[in-house]
C-alpha cells in the first residue's frame, strides 16, 4: 500500500543469488521472499509440501504485546477453543486444518484411508491430504493420541482451522 516512489538502481548480484539457492537446498526451504526498498527477490523450490495440522488443545495464551485486544485471540477459532477449555468431554480435542483446500482421507480413491477411528497417531503420522492447485499436501497429526471421529468427508472443501478429526490424547 506504500505508494512510495522507487529510488536507486541496483543490479542483481548473481553470486548472492547462487548462495541463496544453495542455502534453500541445504535447509529444505521451499520459498524465499526478500524485500528491501524496491528490490524484491522471490524464489520457490519444489511443489510438494508437508504441513502439520493444528492440534486444538486447551492452551494457555501467553500474554503478547497486544494481549488485551480480542483480535489477537481471534486467531484461534474462539467458540471451539472456549468450549474445549470449558468442557473437555463435550467437544474433545480436535486436529484442525492447517490450510484451505480440498480434504482427502486417502492417498487415492482405491487406497485405504490414512487413518480411521481408533487409529493411534504420533505427531508425524500423516492423517490426510489437502489438495491445493493440484498439489496434494500431506498433513501430519502434530499430536499424539487416538482418533475418535473424522469430522469431514473425503472431497470436502476445508478452510484454515476447520476441525478435521477428534482425538483423545
Amino acid at each position: 500500500m506504500a505508494d512510495s516512489p522507487k529510488t536507486g538502481d541496483a543490479p542483481f548480484d548473481l553470486e548472492k543469488l547462487q548462495q541463496l539457492v544453495e542455502m534453500m537446498e541445504k535447509h529444505g526451504l521451499s520459498e524465499v521472499h526478500l524485500k528491501r526498498g524496491d528490490e524484491q527477490w522471490r524464489l520457490r523450490r519444489g511443489a510438494r509440501e508437508v504441513l502439520h495440522a493444528i492440534p486444538q488443545q486447551p492452551v494457555y495464551h501467553a500474554p503478547q504485546q497486544f494481549a488485551a485486544a480480542p483480535a489477537a485471540v481471534q486467531s484461534m477459532a474462539p467458540a471451539a477453543s472456549q468450549s474445549a477449555a470449558a468442557d473437555p468431554n463435550a467437544g474433545g480435542l480436535t486436529i484442525k486444518s492447517p490450510t484451505i483446500g480440498t480434504f482427502y482421507s486417502a492417498p487415492a480413491p482405491t487406497d485405504p484411508a490414512f487413518v480411521s477411528v481408533g487409529s493411534v497417531v504420533t505427531p508425524e503420522t500423516v492423517v490426510c491430504s489437502i489438495e491445493q492447485m493440484k498439489v496434494f499436501n500431506q498433513i501430519q497429526a502434530g499430536v499424539s493420541g487416538t482418533i475418535t471421529a473424522i469430522l469431514v468427508k473425503s472431497g470436502d472443501a476445508v478452510e484454515y482451522d476447520t476441525p478435521l478429526f477428534r482425538y483423545q490424547s
Binding site: 500500500m1 506504500a2 516512489p5 480480542p70 481471534q74 498439489v135
Partner: protein, 448 residues
C-alpha cells in the same frame, strides 16, 4: 461478464469491491485470515473462506491458498485490490494458468513496467520525459561538467550501489559538483565497496502528480484526469485530490496525454496510474506506473462520476470502454484523507485496539469508505489505514471547508488516529493555497 469473483484482499478495499460487485449483480467470495474471520465487512460478500493465520505472509500473501480458495469458491476471476498480491506478476500468471482471470493488466505489461530499466525505455519510446541525467556511470570530472551544463543545476550525484542517502550529494554549481563527485565516490567506496556514481537533475521540492488510466482489451486507452498526492509523510500519502491545484490547464492536458502515450506503448490494459514528479516550473518527469487500483481512486470517481472498480471488472471481462476521452468530465474538486490508526505523538507508530466510540461525518458532498464500526478491533497485523473520507464540492475552497468540518465532527475513541495531523495539514497555508510539495509536511509542518 463474470458471475462470481474472489476478492484477494481485506478491509476497506475488499468491502469496496464487494459493494461494486453487488451493484453489478456479481457474486463475491471473500478470503480472510483467522484475525479477520467474522468481521462485519465480510457479510457484504456472498461467501467467506478462511485462508490462514493472522500473519499476511501465511494468509493474504500465500498464492496457493488464494488459488485454492478460488477453486473451492468456484469463481471465474480474482480482484486483487491494492497492496498484498496486486502487483505480483507471478500471482497474475498463476491465476490465468488456472483459468481464473486476474482483474488487472497482462503479465507482460506488468513486468515491462515493473522493471525500472524497461519502464524507462518505454517512456523514451513514448516520448514521456524522464528526470534527465547521465546515461550510466560518470567516467570523468569533465564528462560530469558537460552533463551538468546540459541538464542544468542543481544536479544530484548518486552512488550506483547507493541507499539510505549514502553517496548522495546535491551540487548547485561547477565547484560543488567537482567536490561532490570526489566525496560521494569516496563515501560510496567505503559504504558499498563500489565508487561508481551517476548524475541526475535534482528536482527540488517536487509535487507528486499522477494520472489515472483505464484501457480495455480492444486498444482503447483513456485517462480520467490527474490527482495531486504531494501531501506525504515519509513517502506515505496522507491527502489526495483531483484536480491538482495550481496546475495550468495546458500542463494538465500534457501530463494526461503523456500518461496515455506511455500506457499505449506498453500495451497496458485495465486500470493503472502513471506517476510523475512536477517541478516549480511545471516541468513533469515520469517516475513509475502503479499497475493496479490505487488507494486514492475515489477522488477520481468523484470528479468523473465513474465507478473505477466496476470499470476494472468490465474491462477484464472483455467489455469495451463505454466512452471516448472527450466524454470524461472533471466536475468540481474532490479531496480524500486517509484515516490511519497511528499515534502522531509516538512518531506515527501503529495504534491497534478496540474502537470504543465512532462518529462518522456525513451529509452533502461526503463519502466514507471503510470497514470499521463501533466495537471494531483494529489488529496489529496489517496496514494501519482504517478508512478514507472523501469530499466533493464545486470548488477546492469549498472542498477544504467541507473536509475541515468533517474532521471536526469525527470521533474515534479507543485508538489514536491521524485525524489531528490531517486537521493541521488542512489548515496549513501551503495546503490551503494549493502550493504543497512532497516535503512540506516533514520540513515545514512537522519540523520542530
Amino acid at each position: 461478464m463474470f458471475q462470481r469473483i474472489l476478492v484477494a484482499n481485506r478491509g476497506e478495499i475488499a468491502l469496496r469491491i464487494f459493494r461494486a460487485c453487488r451493484e453489478m449483480g456479481i457474486e463475491t467470495v471473500a478470503v480472510c485470515s483467522a484475525a479477520d474471520r467474522g468481521a462485519d465487512y465480510l457479510k457484504a460478500a456472498n461467501e467467506s473462506i478462511c485462508i490462514g493465520p493472522a500473519a499476511a505472509n501465511q494468509s493474504y500473501l500465500v498464492i496457493k491458498n488464494i488459488i485454492a480458495a478460488a477453486e473451492v469458491g468456484n469463481v471465474q476471476a480474482i480482484h486483487p485490490g491494492y497492496g498484498f498480491l496486486s502487483e505480483n506478476e507471478h500471482f497474475a500468471e498463476v491465476c490465468r494458468e488456472c483459468k481464473i482471470e486476474f482483474i488487472g493488466p497482462s503479465v507482460d505489461a506488468m513486468s515491462k513496467l515493473g522493471d525500472k530499466v524497461s519502464a524507462k525505455e518505454l517512456a523514451k519510446q513514448a516520448q514521456v520525459n524522464l528526470v534527465p541525467g547521465s546515461d550510466g556511470l560518470i567516467k570523468s570530472e569533465e564528462e560530469a561538467l558537460v552533463i551538468a551544463e546540459k541538464i542544468g543545476y542543481p544536479v544530484l550525484i548518486k552512488a550506483t550501489a547507493g541507499g539510505g542517502g549514502k553517496g548522495m550529494r546535491v551540487a548547485r554549481n561547477d565547484i560543488s559538483l567537482k567536490a561532490g563527485l570526489k566525496s560521494a565516490a569516496m563515501e560510496a567506496e567505503k559504504a558499498f565497496n563500489n565508487a561508481g556514481v551517476y548524475l541526475e537533475k535534482y528536482v527540488e521540492n517536487p509535487r507528486h502528480v499522477e494520472v489515472q488510466i483505464i484501457a480495455d482489451l480492444h486498444g482503447e486507452v483513456v485517462h480520467l484526469w490527474e490527482r495531486d498526492c504531494s501531501s506525504q509523510r515519509r513517502h506515505q500519502k496522507l491527502i489526495e485530490e483531483s484536480p491538482a491545484p495550481n496546475l495550468p490547464q495546458s500542463v494538465r492536458e500534457d501530463i494526461c496525454k503523456a500518461a496515455v502515450r506511455l500506457i499505449q506503448t506498453a500495451n497496458y490494459t485495465n486500470a493503472g496510474t502513471v506517476e510523475f514528479i512536477v517541478d516549480k516550473n511545471n516541468q513533469f518527469y515520469f517516475i513509475e506506473v502503479n499497475a493496479r487500483i490505487q488507494v486514492e481512486h475515489p477522488v477520481t470517481e468523484m470528479v468523473t462520476g465513474i465507478d473505477l472498480i466496476q470499470q476494472q471488472i468490465k474491462v477484464a471481462s472483455g467489455e469495451p470502454l463505454p466512452w471516448k476521452q472527450r466524454n470524461i468530465p472533471c466536475h468540481g474538486s474532490a479531496i480524500e484523507v486517509r484515516i490511519n490508526a497511528e499515534d502522531p505523538d509516538l512518531d506515527f507508530r501503529p495504534s491497534p485496539g478496540k474502537i470504543t466510540k465512532l462518529r462518522v461525518p456525513g451529509g452533502h458532498g461526503v463519502r466514507w469508505d471503510s470497514h470499521i464500526h463501533e466495537g471494531y478491533v483494529v489488529g496489529p497485523y496489517y496496514d494501519s489505514m482504517i478508512g478514507k473520507l472523501i469530499v466533493h464540492k464545486p470548488s477546492r475552497p469549498e472542498a477544504i471547508a467541507c473536509m475541515k468540518r468533517c474532521l471536526d465532527e469525527f470521533v474515534v475513541d479507543g485508538i489514536k488516529t491521524t485525524i489531528p495531523l490531517l486537521k493541521r495539514i488542512l489548515n496549513h497555508t501551503a495546503f490551503v493555497e494549493g502550493k504543497m510539495d512532497t516535503t512540506f509536511i516533514e520540513q515545514q509542518l512537522l519540523a520542530k
